[in-house]
Symmetry: C2
Subunit: 519 residues, 2 copies
């Protein structure tokens, strides 16, 4: 039965009004959107949170981190940190708690287009991509091939079109670029060219970042404008778990902080390998590492925008391999997100890093339960949430589209249930039962909440078995393939003008030909 | 790397001890199992719960239910109910609240084998099947064919083997049986013959139920033994939403209550069709209907075992079709489960009724997010949780196996995180960081928590892309097909002896030949 058919069940006089109600609503009236307040899932109780916090302070004050670079030691000890005889940099309780108290908790991650700005304060939640996959996955054959700069750009413009993916963090490695500078620089270029949503990426060398800043200033219209609305954040693995600073990443971090770039303080311990196998211990180490990073950032520049980036990974302890799709993964992330909310810090965690190599049942299930739990955990940012396979080794275009729908359904659960005199519906129930027609089809209330209470997936197949056979047994994947084809053929963001692009190409070695960025 | 390889990374002296630790643990030490305490997901706050409760009392006291049969009117009015002039039976606040206060909240659902008994008090959670699918689904071709008695028996013995499916409620209709008595009776027979787990089924006529009781008494070893451990419960749709009693179901309910059979009080309104489209209103109607049923059961026999069976379904309002896999579905169920916990009643809700016709990405995603939210909602029983497709129209054997893994991962999230001095791991972190080896692979703690903290799926594919290609690109579905083949060939429960079975066949018209119930 079509939408019109539902409407025409009613008496003629009200058809027009009802059709109007059934029409698409403005964004603020839709069931879901970016920045919904999250937090219905709480794996830890208050006592558990406090015990974890106490253990974290113990680790930071007494164990600390190894391998701090001189500039890090300088700023952190000036702020109250202590370099121990064994060379480890430790963070006394007062330093950690003062840093948490004074940290920037009103961070906005800007888009090149203001409609995509993300206020990541409170428990507002956004989903996006991330990762450094080295393969593109063929959704049908399961073929894995090396990812390229063109792939990265294509993923960016696909994300640009997908409503429930709110930001784009670099998802694949440009394996066609052998030179590290070319790779870092062109990764940034392809990302910011492919979408007006907020971009995240990373650099392996501070010089690469400095050059990228030059480009970003050009795109922004000058350094001042960049600093007003920094539309790129840095994913920074400043720590090599367990509890060692990473030299190059720290040098990049310092350049980024001073350049006004928000820093995702990313600690990615793998439980049972580089962090404790005990889930609680893994959370303790993750939180300690990220808070060390927060002290570092705030010692460089108080109030610099930084994201509490606890990315606890899971090992399958039978093999030692990462298992990104497990239930343990969901729990670890949810616990870390709760710690982020306990500190009221901008928080970003990963979810949806499924173990399956292709978008099959396993992939859907792993993404489904991980997103449901992570999305409701109170985190501000959900990274890795679309397109990923093989525990982050593969990226699939069709999965971006499929995952966009899964995220939409999960966002519907994040939105929760509105309870009001009107939605409780006692009068609507009375009318239907006592005055007829004995059902709610086509009732005023039904039509009025059709968009505001319900989310409709793009690819989800909802027809009956008979209709489905008649239609040739379409699957969500087939619909996703069609959406990928259409978007790749037609959607080329042109927010960076030809003139500006020429200027960038004159100054820098851009590897992606402009003609591959046009229809 | 194999389990042995992880172990052998360590120095030789400890290998034996560690191998012992890595060996399978007894059930009580495993990460998951039946009856885990649930409740980490709370979609409603206390005020919202109270407003819903108030609206429910309003509906019951002022609108009530139509079409009560004379025996229902008799017992309910004797308990304090009021028959209104318009013929509707209403339930004053005092009757409802007294009934809730006195209702049986210490219900055990027994298995034929005691190891499968389910204590459904508190927030203990169990997953099982349910439904009345009319098709069996071929997982590979997507072919839908009519389900038979043999299918029902095969599903029961498949469930008998699957560790995370804790009970078996009749999942398909025996479409090879034209006569309603034959169908009801043989459905009960095939179910209790196929598994020693607790069974749920339904009857359309009280006479069918009375005859089934005769068989159940035989199997139990007499009526007294049956009443001590009733191993079959009745799924009873006593209400046709909105707010009308169903005559035949009510007559069966009365026979069941008097025969000591636990009753699943099942209200299955479909939001936007037979219940309000507004989610809060749908919850109000569901809860009101089930509480009316609870008053009815307790008016027949105070303290009779009954399950708060709020099964709110969702319409896709564009077409009017049911959408069992939607995010709205998860929310509705979670809210109803929270109401069940508010009343502290044995609660059973559905989850995993995916819209997809086959076990593909969509099916996995829909089951994943629905199970994650429902499993953590505090419900005692999760019905429909395995095998279902096409919003309950199709049942797939391979999906039972796949869903068993999804449920396992979700149960891991239900279990939560143990926070103790030991699990917080500060000392383990200190040792690894300060004394080496700088990682946790093969550490004492890692080996000791390998089984107690982690769940390992049967079908989940966790190999790397390279290994995966070498293995011939296996998918979880392929592994599930193999498990189905093996189980169907080898697992024939023999808890009903040949002698007893002969006696049953002499007294009743059993349609399933005994030779199809043997290897």
């Amino acid at each position: 039965m079509s939408e019109t058919a539902v409407v025409s069940r009613r008496k003629g006089g009200r058809v027009a009004r009802q059709a109007m109600r059934a029409a698409p609503l403005t964004a603020d009236k839709r069931a879901i959107g970016p920045g919904l307040e999250s937090g219905s899932f709480k794996v830890l109780n208050d006592l558990q949170i406090k015990r974890i916090h106490t253990a974290v302070l113990d680790v930071l004050e007494n164990i600390g981190l190894a391998d701090a670079i001189p500039s890090c030691i300088e700023v952190v000890t000036a702020a109250g940190g202590v370099l121990k005889d064994n060379g480890r940099l430790t963070f006394p309780r007062a330093l950690v708690e003062d840093t948490i108290a004074k940290a920037n908790r009103n961070v906005v991650l800007y888009g090149q287009s203001p409609q995509h700005d993300m206020d990541i304060s409170g428990s507002r939640t956004y989903f996006g991509t991330a990762g450094a996959a080295v393969h593109m996955v063929d959704a049908v054959t399961g073929e894995y091939r090396e990812s390229t700069t063109q792939d990265l750009y294509d993923i960016a413009r696909m994300v640009d079109k997908l409503e429930n993916i709110h930001f784009f963090q670099r998802a694949v490695v440009c394996r066609d670029l052998a030179d590290p500078f070319d790779m870092d620089f062109n990764t940034c270029y392809a990302s910011v060219s492919g979408t007006t949503k907020h971009v995240g990426t990373s650099w392996v060398d501070p010089m690469h970042l400095e050059k990228s800043f030059e480009m970003l200033h050009l795109i922004a219209g000058g350094e001042k404008k960049w600093r007003e609305r920094p539309f790129v954040s840095m994913s920074n693995c400043f720590v090599v778990p367990p509890l060692k600073f990473a030299e190059d990443a720290c040098r990049c971090l310092e350049v980024g902080v001073r350049g006004g770039m928000p820093i995702l303080l990313l600690a990615a311990g793998q439980a049972g390998a580089t962090s404790p196998a005990s889930l609680a211990g893994s959370v303790v180490q993750e939180v300690a590492e990220v808070l060390a990073g927060l002290c570092y950032v705030n010692a460089i520049e108080p109030g610099a925008p930084a994201i509490f980036g606890t990315w606890p990974f899971v090992s399958d302890l039978r093999t030692g391999a990462m298992s990104g799709g497990s239930g343990e993964q969901a729990l670890l992330v949810a616990a870390c997100a709760q710690m982020g909310r306990f500190y009221d810090l901008p928080t970003g965690v990963p979810s949806g890093m499924c173990d399956s190599k292709v978008p099959d049942y396993q992939a859907g299930a792993e993404k489904g339960y991980n997103h449901a739990i992570t999305g409701n955990s109170g985190t501000n940012l959900v990274y890795e949430s679309a397109g990923m396979h093989a525990s982050l080794l593969g990226m699939c275009m069709e999965s971006l589209v499929l995952d966009n729908d899964t995220i939409g359904s999960v966002l519907r659960t994040v939105k929760g249930i509105e309870v009001s005199e009107d939605t409780l519906s006692v009068e609507a129930i009375r009318q239907v039962c006592e005055e007829g027609p004995g059902h709610y089809l086509g009732s005023d209330q039904t039509l009025s909440v059709m968009q505001s209470e319900y989310f409709y997936p793009d690819t989800g197949e909802r027809s009956s078995p008979n209709e489905w056979v008649e239609k040739g047994r379409p699957t969500a994947l087939m619909k996703a393939m069609e959406i990928v084809r259409e978007t790749m053929a037609g959607h080329y963001p042109r927010h960076i003008s030809d003139e500006l692009d020429r200027e960038i190409r004159q100054k820098f070695n851009i590897k992606l030909p402009r003609e591959q960025m046009t229809p």
